[in-house]
C-alpha cells in the first residue's frame, strides 16, 4: 500500500535488507522479516494492535512500578468507590484499587494468551493438516478423535485435565489450550482439503519428501492465516473461560487479579457499581482487540501476495 516512490532515508542497513539479490539466505530471511515488518507498520490498525499488545507486555513486565497500589491491598472502608482521581478505575468489593489489579492482571492474561497460542494452535493445525492431507482412514480416525474432543463440553474436558494436573491458573490454561485445538483442526482440515491434491504438493512428494515434512513445511503454512485469525479472535473467549474454570476452583484463585475472575465477581454489582465488572472487561476487550488487529495485520503481511 505504499504510495509513490518514497524518498526514504537510505541507510546502509535498509539497503542491505532490501537488496534485490540478497547474497545469503540469512540476508534474505532478515530482508523478508523487514518487509513483513514494514508492511505491518504501513497498516494503521495493525500498528494500533501492535501497540496494544506491546502495552500489555510492558504493563505486565513493569506492573510493580506502574501500579499505584498492590493488587491485594484491602480497605474495607473504601469499598465500591466509583472511579475518581485517587482510584482511576474505582475500587472493588473489598476496597482494592481496580486499576492496580488490572495492571497486575496483565501478567496472568499474558501468560494465558501465550500458553494457549503455544499449545493449542500448533496442535490443531497439525492434526487438521494431517487429516486433510492424508485422507482415508487417517482422516477418519483423526477427525473422529477431533469430533470427540470437539463435542465434549469444554468445561468437562478442562475439568478432567485440571483434575489430572492439579488446580492452579497455569494448569487451567493448559487445560483450556488442550481443549481448544479441535476447532483449529477442523478449520485447518477444511482448508487443506482444497489444496491437498495441488501440483505443488505433488512436486514435493516427487522429491521424496515424507508425509510429515509435507504437512509441516508445505501444508501448514497455507492454513496459518486462518489459524492466526481464529487464535487471536479466541483470546477474549479464552480469558473468560479461564474465569469459568476459576469458578470451579480450578482456575485463578482469589485474590489473584485475573481479569476474567474479576469480571465474574463484579457481575452482581453490574447494575449499581458498573465499574467493578466493566473495567476489567474493558481491559479484555482492548487486549483482544489488540491481538485481533495485530493478527489481521500479520495475516496480510505474511501473505506474500499482499507484499510488494
Amino acid at each position: 500500500m505504499s504510495a509513490g516512490p518514497r524518498p526514504a532515508p537510505r541507510s546502509g542497513l535498509r539497503d542491505w535488507l532490501l537488496a534485490e539479490a540478497p547474497s545469503s539466505r540469512r540476508q534474505a530471511a532478515l530482508g523478508s522479516a523487514y518487509r513483513t515488518w514494514s508492511q505491518l507498520l504501513r497498516n494503521p490498525l495493525a500498528v494500533a494492535g501492535g501497540l496494544i499488545v506491546l502495552g500489555l507486555v510492558l504493563v505486565a513486565a513493569f506492573a510493580p512500578w506502574i501500579a499505584p497500589d498492590t493488587p491485594y491491598g484491602q480497605s474495607l472502608s473504601e469499598r465500591l468507590m466509583p472511579p475518581s482521581a485517587e482510584h482511576w478505575m474505582g475500587t472493588d468489593e473489598l476496597g482494592r484499587d481496580i486499576l492496580s489489579r488490572v495492571i497486575w492482571g496483565a501478567r496472568i492474561t499474558l501468560m494465558i494468551v501465550v500458553l494457549v497460542a503455544v499449545i493449542s494452535a500448533p496442535l490443531g493445525l497439525l492434526v487438521g493438516a494431517v487429516a486433510g492431507y492424508a485422507g482415508g482412514w487417517v482422516d477418519k480416525v483423526l477427525m473422529g478423535i477431533t469430533d470427540i474432543f470437539l463435542s465434549m463440553p469444554k468445561l468437562i474436558l478442562a475439568l478432567a485435565f485440571v483434575a489430572a494436573l492439579g488446580p492452579g491458573i497455569e494448569n487451567a490454561v493448559i487445560a483450556i489450550a488442550i481443549t481448544s485445538w479441535p476447532a483449529y483442526a477442523r478449520i485447518a482440515r477444511a482448508e487443506t482439503l482444497t489444496f491437498a491434491q495441488a501440483e505443488f504438493i505433488q512436486a514435493v512428494r516427487l522429491s521424496g519428501a515424507g508425509h510429515m515434512r509435507i504437512v509441516t513445511r508445505h501444508v501448514i503454512p497455507l492454513c496459518l492465516s486462518s489459524t492466526i485469525i481464529r487464535v487471536t479472535l479466541d483470546m477474549a473467549g479464552i480469558i473468560l473461560t479461564a474465569a469459568g474454570l476459576g469458578f470451579l476452583g480450578l482456575g485463578a484463585q482469589p485474590p489473584l487479579p485475573e481479569w476474567g475472575a474479576m469480571i465474574s465477581r463484579g457481575r452482581t454489582f453490574i447494575l449499581d457499581q458498573w465499574w467493578v465488572a466493566t473495567m476489567p472487561g474493558f481491559a479484555i476487550i482492548l487486549v483482544s482487540l489488540g491481538f485481533c488487529l495485530l493478527g489481521d495485520g500479520l495475516r496480510d503481511a505474511l501473505d506474500p501476495k499482499g507484499r510488494t
Partner: protein, 356 residues
C-alpha cells in the same frame, strides 16, 4: 478428427463399483459415528470419575450418616469397578435408558427433552441471524478492504467476540427490558402464558404456531429476541471475520479476474466467483459456531433464566450428577457429530475438489 472418448471401452465395473463404494461409505459412516460416540461416552464417563466431587454426596447431602452414604453409593452403582459401571451404562444407553438424574430426581431423557429444545430454539435463531448478517458483512468488508467500512465492521465484529456475554446480557436487559421496555424480561415466556400451549416439539415458537396461539407466540418472540440477538452477535463476530479473511484470498485470485473479464456484474463476481469457493471452509466455521451455541452458553442462559442445556450440564457437572452429564454430553455430541458429518457432506457437494 475428434478423438472419440466413447470409443474407449468404458470399464464395465463402473456402476457396481459405485454401489459398492456407496455401501462401503454408509457402513464406514455408521462405524465411525458409533466409534466416535463410544469414545465420547468413555472419555466423559471416566472424566466423571476423576472429578473431585463425590456423586453420592450430591444424593445424600452433607448431613447424611455413613450408612446412608454407603447405601447411596450402592444405589448409584459406585461400588462396582469403573469398567463394569461403564459397560452397564453403555448397555442402558443402547436400550435408550439414560438413567436417572440425581439432582433433579427425574429420568435424564425427560430432563433433556425439556432443556434441549430451549437451547436449540435460541441457538438456531442466533446462528441464523449470525449467518444472515455475518456473511454479507464479512464479504462487504473484504470487498471494501482497507476502507473505513472495513475497519468499522472489523471492530464491531470484534466487540461481539470480546465482550463478556453476561455483560451484554445484563446491559441489554437493563436497556431494552427495564429501560425501553421493548422486549420481555428473562425466561422463555411470561408467567401468564406458561403452560398454555401443549408441548409438541418443545420449541415454544413452533408449538405456539402449531396451536395457532399467536399471543403466546408473540410473547415467546419478545422473550427470545434479546438472548438470541446476543448469541447472534457472538457468532456473527466470528463468521464475519472468517468470511472476510477467506474472501480476501479469493478476491486476489485469477479466476476472479476471469470473471471480471467476462464483464460479469460485480455482485456476480463477488457472490458467484469469489464466494463459492470459500463455502467449504465457511461451512466449517458456521458449523463450529452453531455447535458452540448448541452446547449452550451458560452465561447467557443464567442471565436470561433460560432453562437450557448449558445450565443443565453445568449444574449436573458441579454436582457430579454423572447420568445427567453423560446424557447431556451425548446429546451435545450427537449434535456436533451430526453437524460435522453434515458439513463433510456439504464439502462434497460444494467443492468438487474435496471429492476423494
Amino acid at each position: 478428427m475428434a478423438p472419440d472418448m466413447s470409443a474407449i471401452p468404458q470399464p464395465s465395473t463402473r456402476p457396481a463399483r459405485g454401489l459398492r463404494r456407496a455401501s462401503r461409505g454408509v457402513a464406514g459412516f455408521v462405524l465411525t459415528t458409533a466409534v466416535t460416540f463410544l469414545g465420547l461416552l468413555a472419555i466423559t464417563f471416566f472424566i466423571g470419575r476423576v472429578v473431585p466431587i463425590d456423586p453420592a454426596l450430591a444424593v445424600v447431602g452433607d448431613r447424611a450418616t455413613q450408612e446412608q452414604y454407603e447405601a447411596a453409593r450402592v444405589a448409584l452403582g459406585l461400588d462396582r469397578p469403573l469398567f463394569v459401571q461403564f459397560l452397564v451404562y453403555v448397555g442402558d444407553v443402547m436400550t435408550g435408558d439414560l438413567g436417572q438424574s440425581i439432582t433433579t430426581n427425574r429420568p435424564v431423557a425427560e430432563d433433556l427433552a425439556r432443556v434441549f429444545p430451549a437451547t436449540l430454539e435460541m441457538a438456531t435463531l442466533g446462528i441464523l441471524a449470525g449467518v444472515l448478517i455475518g456473511v454479507p458483512v464479512g464479504v462487504w468488508a473484504a470487498v471494501r478492504q482497507g476502507t473505513w467500512i472495513d475497519q468499522v465492521i472489523r471492530i464491531f465484529a470484534l466487540m461481539g467476540y470480546s465482550v463478556p456475554a453476561f455483560w451484554l446480557g445484563l446491559v441489554g436487559l437493563a436497556l431494552f427490558y427495564a429501560g425501553l421496555g421493548w422486549v420481555a424480561g428473562p425466561g422463555r415466556i411470561d408467567i401468564f402464558y406458561d403452560g398454555l400451549v401443549e408441548p409438541v416439539t418443545g420449541l415454544l415458537l413452533v408449538d405456539s404456531l402449531i396451536a395457532g396461539d399467536f399471543t403466546v407466540f408473540g410473547n415467546a418472540v419478545s422473550h427470545i429476541v434479546l438472548p438470541a440477538t446476543i448469541l447472534a452477535f457472538f457468532s456473527l463476530a466470528y463468521i464475519a471475520r472468517m468470511t472476510r479473511s477467506f474472501m480476501l484470498d479469493q478476491l486476489g485470485s485469477e479466476h476472479v479476474t476471469t470473471a471480471r473479464v467476462k464483464g460479469l456484474p460485480e455482485w456476480k463476481v463477488i457472490w458467484v466467483h469469489a464466494f463459492r469457493p470459500i463455502r467449504v471452509p465457511l461451512v466449517t466455521v458456521i458449523g463450529l459456531s452453531y455447535a458452540q451455541l448448541l452446547e449452550g452458553s451458560v452465561m447467557i442462559e443464567t442471565v436470561f433464566s433460560w432453562p437450557g442445556i448449558g445450565n443443565y450440564l453445568t449444574t449436573a457437572l458441579l454436582n457430579a450428577d454423572m447420568n445427567a452429564v453423560l446424557g447431556a454430553t451425548l446429546v451435545v455430541g450427537v449434535v456436533f457429530v451430526a453437524i460435522n458429518r453434515l458439513s463433510d457432506v456439504a464439502y462434497r457437494l460444494l467443492d468438487p475438489r474435496a471429492k476423494r
